[in-house]
């Protein structure tokens, strides 16, 4: 299996002993969509992202990429890009070394791809500097470009906006819109309803592992869902 244009979660649950991280979630997304996995901390968003990324095995239920075939093989992983809480970067290496390593790992042409990614992250002139010296915002922009190096079909983002200033948030938001327009399936997990507003095309609201809302996005997310997710 090489490519797919939709991802389906069918009755996915994941328990850790008695703790239910994700409970009976069914959800699907097609290419061009930006799914907002919204909800407070501990709602199970990260676990669900992990399941989609093939890193976490569901206790029950299934994940279907495209025509329905399921698995965690290398060809499938080539189509998945993940940006998680942590940046997935080596602080001891330079930005360029980090990107080159991951580009080669994904088997994409290193030099041009890396140059383009550095520019996209706004770090064209900082490529040779060690990542440990970067600010949180720079690191996050670099991490996003690292996750997108191999032009994944399925883009998974877990709280990509934490620690970003307004300008960087704008850059990242635009980047996600362009990705979706180019045919990617974007899943965005965040607790911040204001940032998700106007960006996501579909809302999946989670709390305590369960999905409370599953509907197309409409303006005014905060007003609509405030009652459902409490204080957040």
């Amino acid at each position: 299996m090489s490519d797919f244009d939709q991802v389906r979660l069918v009755d996915v649950s994941r328990h850790f002993g008695r703790r239910r991280a994700v409970s009976h979630v069914s959800l699907s997304a097609r290419s061009g969509e930006i799914v907002g996995l919204l909800g407070p901390n501990g709602a199970g968003k990260s676990t669900l992202i992990g399941v989609l990324a093939t890193l976490v095995a569901p206790t029950s239920g299934g994940v279907y990429y495209g025509d329905g075939s399921r698995g965690a093989d290398a060809a499938l992983r080539k189509r998945i890009g993940l940006l998680a809480h942590e940046p997935h970067l080596y602080p001891e290496l330079s930005a360029r070394q980090n990107l080159t390593f991951f580009a080669e790992l994904y088997g994409v042409k290193a030099r041009e791809t890396v140059d383009r990614a550095l520019d996209a992250a706004g770090l064209g002139d900082r490529g040779e500097d060690e990542v440990s010296g970067f600010s949180r915002g720079m690191r996050q922009r670099l991490a996003l470009e690292r996750a997108l190096l191999h032009r994944p079909r399925l883009v998974l983002l877990d709280e990509p906006f934490t620690g970003l200033d307004d300008r960087s948030v704008g850059v990242v938001t635009d980047r996600l819109r362009r990705l979706a327009a180019d045919g990617a399936i974007v899943w965005l997990a965040t607790h911040d309803l204001d940032l998700a507003d106007g960006l996501v095309t579909h809302v999946a609201l989670m709390r305590d592992g369960r999905m409370l809302v599953n509907e197309p996005a409409a303006p005014g997310l905060r007003a609509r869902y405030r009652a459902l997710i409490g204080s957040a």
Binding site: L55, A84, F101, Y106
Partner: protein, 225 residues
Amino acid sequence: MFLKVALLVLRKDFAIEVRSREILFTTLFFALSCVLVFSFAFVKEGEPLEDAASGILWIAIAFAGTLALGRTFERERYGETLRALLLAPAPRPAIYVGKLIGIVLLLVVAEALLVPLVALLFQATLFARPLLLSGLLLAGTIGFCAVGTLFAAMLVRARTRDVMLPILLYPITVPVIIAGVRGTSALLQATPDEAAATMWIALLVCFDVVFVTLALWTFEPLMTE
């Protein structure tokens, strides 16, 4: 693809080490400290106890190896880069192989310093049969690291990893320590016992084959949460 990814991981670890040199220097110095500390226990009136040299050499390797294993995987934990590696479109055991080769090379460098040091401090004729000794050291190091790399990788997610690694690793690798110490002692006798050393190397090679295979086999199910 498998070998390419293993080599990429190895080269990446090498690049980090070239920049920081942290693990190499700390491991070397730790191994040195081990040798000195144990010397005070096993040297009496200027004369080392029988077989003390080989014992100290292997204990230093095992202790320094544990430290290095913990540090390399701490690097992969920070920034959760281990998860990023697991996401790479490659057979996952390739990552294990890359990390394994890296840690073996690091310990070989440490041994290159330890062996002359032990030979010097204990008047041990460690260079009488250089080939057999190298064989013992290499086979033993691979065996120790084969188990250690898998355990350190699987413990990355555990909060208690620092204490769990030695608790799990040492009982399993006792055969390696016995074979290493006995084989080295056989070589240190007035007339080196080549047959005994060869027999221990053979045992170590069997251990390596069994446990590398087992680790490659269990790596994927162990790394999926």
